[in-house]
Structures are given as structure tokens and as C-alpha cells.
């Protein structure tokens, strides 16, 4: 199976390991993630002003590219997923905006493409049972904390899958890989998002609550599918350990990295060495790398 794939800006630069692990893992599962021939940044944030149509031009151009290559678009990053999926709904449901945007970007697009997150493809195209059968490593001794963040689930009316207060897709993914799920209350709390680049003091504490909560639930590591969540949660743990006595740093992996590890793939290109909190010791201790 071949599905058009949108990597996005961060996966092409700072989060190459996320991208590589996605492509290789899906290839191992018989799905080719075929990068769009032309794509641009999605804008990284969905415009919240009613008349801000200009910020929709970028994401819609990507959807137009995707429509030329198939009826589905696979997305790994949950922020891109949020922006592309919501922009697609505008094109599908709001005639007035659709006309203006199409006129501006010289296109004729009406929201035909189905925007899918990689986890949805694993759930609906591969299936959890088939995924479990493809797993080569034994993860039974690994406790994984699922981290959704904000973009993946909200707003629920538009994102439209899973229960936004009690989501299960990451839990089911972790279980299919054979690992244990660490259940903790902060899995869908915001990590601070872009505010981190401008008011780090505030967002570092927001991240701390999430990290400490995952640790308390006995997690060995956290998985997420957003490069900014990954950075915010990963980057400041040394400072947090100095500030909050008793806090032990916890590695933060991308969902696709854990997938590739479970499938027994060569992890050389996964950039595991580029994480701030090195995940390799705990992975080695569990016999996974």
C-alpha cells in the first residue's frame, strides 16, 4: 500500500529521527509513506480569527498537492495533523471561505482528501492485532506513558476521533507493541507549546507537572507524536531535577521510534543519541537495543 505522506518542517530538520523511524517502520509493515512531490510548511497553528484566511492558504496548498497524488494524506506530527485536518474541514464545509481560498491559491479544492495521523493508519489500516503479530522484540518489561498533548485531540468536534478526555489510541498502540501502559492524569495537558520560546519559566513548570506525573505512574519513558512537545518535555529536565528534589529525568521518544524498536529495525537513523535525556540506557537495560 502506498499513502501520500506529509513530513512537515520540523521532521525535515530537527526531528529527522521521527521521520526516519516513521518511514522505515511503515515500510516494514508493508506501507510506503510516499513524500508529497511538493509541500510547504502547514503554518504550525490553526488561525483562530474568523477572517484570517491568509493563514489557511499554506495548509490548503498542501492538501491540493495531496489530492493530486491520492485520496489520503498521512501525517506524523500531531501539530501538522491538527492544522491540515482543520483546514480541510474549512474547505469541505464553508463554501464562502473555500471560494476565496481557492481563488487566492489558484486551485479548485473542496476537501476531498482524508487527512490521517499515522496512529490512525496503524489502527484502521494495519489493525492492532496485525501490528502485535509484526512485533519482534519483547517489550513486556517496559512501562510507557502515552502523551497526547493538545493538538492531537482538540477541538474534539473537528479532530473527531477518540474520546478527548479519555483517549485510548496511544494506549492501544503501546499495548499492541506488547509494552505496559503507565496511566497518569496529565497525558492530554498542554506542555506550553510555542510559549516556551518566549516565557520558558512558565512552560518549564507546565512540562514538569506532566513529567513528574508520568514518573509517579512508574513510566520508563514517554511517547508522543509532536516535535515541540518532545522538545519541551525533553530539553529542560536537568534544570528541573536541580529545582525539584527527587525528580528523575525520563526519556521522551516519538511514537514511531518506539514502533521501529519494537519491530526490531536498525535504529541507526532514529537519532536516539540526539535526545537530551538519553533513552538508550533504559532501552538497553530492557534488552531492546
Amino acid at each position: 500500500m502506498r499513502i501520500p505522506y506529509y513530513p512537515g518542517c520540523t521532521l525535515s530538520t530537527k526531528a529527522k529521527g521521527f521521520d526516519q523511524a516513521a518511514r522505515q517502520s511503515f515500510a516494514a509493515l508493508g506501507i510506503e509513506l510516499a513524500e508529497l512531490k511538493t509541500w510547504n510548511c502547514c503554518g504550525a497553528t490553526f488561525p483562530l480569527s474568523r477572517d484570517n484566511l491568509l493563514d489557511l492558504a499554506g495548509p490548503v496548498r498542501n492538501l491540493v498537492s495531496a489530492a493530486a497524488e491520492g485520496d489520503k494524506l498521512a501525517v506524523a506530527c500531531s501539530t501538522c495533523f491538527n492544522v491540515l485536518k482543520r483546514s480541510n474541514l474549512v474547505m469541505r464545509n464553508e463554501e464562502d471561505k473555500r471560494e476565496k481560498i481557492n481563488f487566492f491559491i489558484e486551485a479548485d479544492y473542496a476537501g476531498s482528501v482524508q487527512v490521517l495521523h499515522l496512529l490512525e493508519i496503524l489502527r484502521d489500516e494495519v489493525g492492532w492485532d496485525n501490528l502485535a503479530k509484526a512485533v519482534k522484540k519483547n517489550l513486556a518489561d517496559l512501562s510507557v506513558a502515552p502523551y497526547y498533548g493538545c493538538m492531537f485531540l482538540r477541538p474534539p468536534k473537528e479532530m473527531g476521533f477518540d474520546d478527548h478526555e479519555n483517549p485510548q489510541i496511544l494506549e492501544n498502540f503501546i499495548r499492541a507493541l506488547g509494552a505496559q501502559v503507565a496511566d497518569y492524569p496529565h497525558r492530554a495537558e498542554c506542555c506550553g507549546n510555542y510559549i516556551a520560546a518566549f516565557d520558558l519559566e512558565t512552560t518549564r513548570e507546565m512540562s514538569y507537572l506532566i513529567l513528574a506525573s508520568a514518573r509517579k505512574a512508574g513510566a520508563d519513558l514517554i511517547v508522543t507524536s509532536c516535535p515541540l512537545c518532545q522538545f519541551n518535555l525533553d530539553r529542560w529536565q536537568q534544570d528541573l531535577a536541580m529545582k525539584h528534589g527527587g525528580f528523575r529525568p525520563i526519556p521522551v521518544l516519538y511514537d514511531t521510534q518506539l514502533l521501529g524498536i519494537a519491530l526490531g529495525l536498525d535504529t541507526t537513523t532514529f537519532d536516539l543519541d540526539k535526545h537530551y535525556v538519553d533513552p538508550r540506557p533504559v532501552l538497553a537495560e530492557k534488552g531492546l537495543i
Binding site: G8, C9, T10, T13, K14, A15, C41, G43, A44, T45, P47, L48, S49, R50, D51, D55, C77, T79, G149, C150, R154, P155, P156, H164, A188, E189, C190, G192, N193, Y194, I195, A196, A197, F198, D199, E201, T202, E205, M206, L209, P227, L228, F231, R235
Partner: protein
């Protein structure tokens, strides 16, 4: 805080613009406080999320414009998701920020961001941040 109410103040131009840009009806909010209870950044805010709406309902937008709160909202939409009246507070925050910046200029000077920040953060932090902190 003592607040004097008048019809002209409550229905002032700024409030009307906020409602128009955000597409939200401020008077829908009955101040249950669910937004403030769920907001992960509330601990750092000087005005709580529900107070932002209350002040706007009363025409006291100056207090909102001066607050740190509008710059700490990361639009995670926890408040909107849990609001029993369906008020999208992150859209209101965005309208207030945009109106403020259209009149008084951008919140940040991109050239003044520290080199380490630029080198280290993922691209999406800047793309989102520039969209929220500049007009």
C-alpha cells in the same frame, strides 16, 4: 475592584470587534470557572481565564489588554473543550491579542530573540510563536 457600568461601556467598539473577530458571544458565559480550573497555564496568569471573559462582558477590556494572561494562552483549547456553553475562549484571546498588536505593534522583536533560542528550538515553535506574537 470597583467597576462602574454603563450601556455605552458594556457595548463598546472594542468588545464588538472582539465578538466579531472571534465569532464568540461573550454573554453566553455564565462564569462557572471550568476554563480556569482546567487551564494548565493558569498558575502563571494575573487574570484567570474566566475573569478575562467577565471583564470583557463588563466593558473593562483595558484590564485584559494590560494582563499577562493573553500572552500565556497557548491555544491548547482545553477551556473550549470543557466549556458547558461552548465558548471558545482561545478565539477570544486571539482577537484581543490581534486588536492590541494592530494598534500598538508586535509583542516580540524577532531580531532580538537570543541566538541560542533560535538555534535550539524546533521550527514549529517560531512559526506558531510569530503568528501569535506578531500581527
Amino acid at each position: 475592584m470597583r467597576i462602574q457600568l454603563s450601556a455605552t461601556k458594556v457595548h463598546n467598539d472594542f468588545i464588538r470587534k472582539v465578538e466579531d473577530m472571534s465569532g464568540q458571544d461573550l454573554l453566553k458565559c455564565y462564569q462557572c470557572g471550568e476554563c480556569s480550573a482546567g487551564c494548565p497555564a493558569a498558575f502563571a496568569m494575573d487574570i484567570l481565564p474566566n475573569q478575562v471573559i467577565r471583564l470583557l462582558q463588563l466593558g473593562e477590556h483595558e484590564a485584559v489588554l494590560k494582563s499577562k494572561t493573553i500572552w500565556l494562552c497557548a491555544a491548547c483549547q482545553q477551556c473550549y473543550t470543557r466549556c458547558p456553553k461552548g465558548v471558545d475562549l482561545s478565539r477570544i484571546m486571539e482577537a484581543v491579542r490581534d486588536l492590541l498588536m494592530l494598534e500598538h505593534g508586535d509583542r516580540i522583536v524577532i531580531e532580538k530573540l537570543p541566538a541560542e533560542t533560535l538555534a535550539e528550538f524546533p521550527q514549529q515553535a517560531f512559526i506558531s510563536g510569530f503568528r501569535k506574537y506578531t500581527a
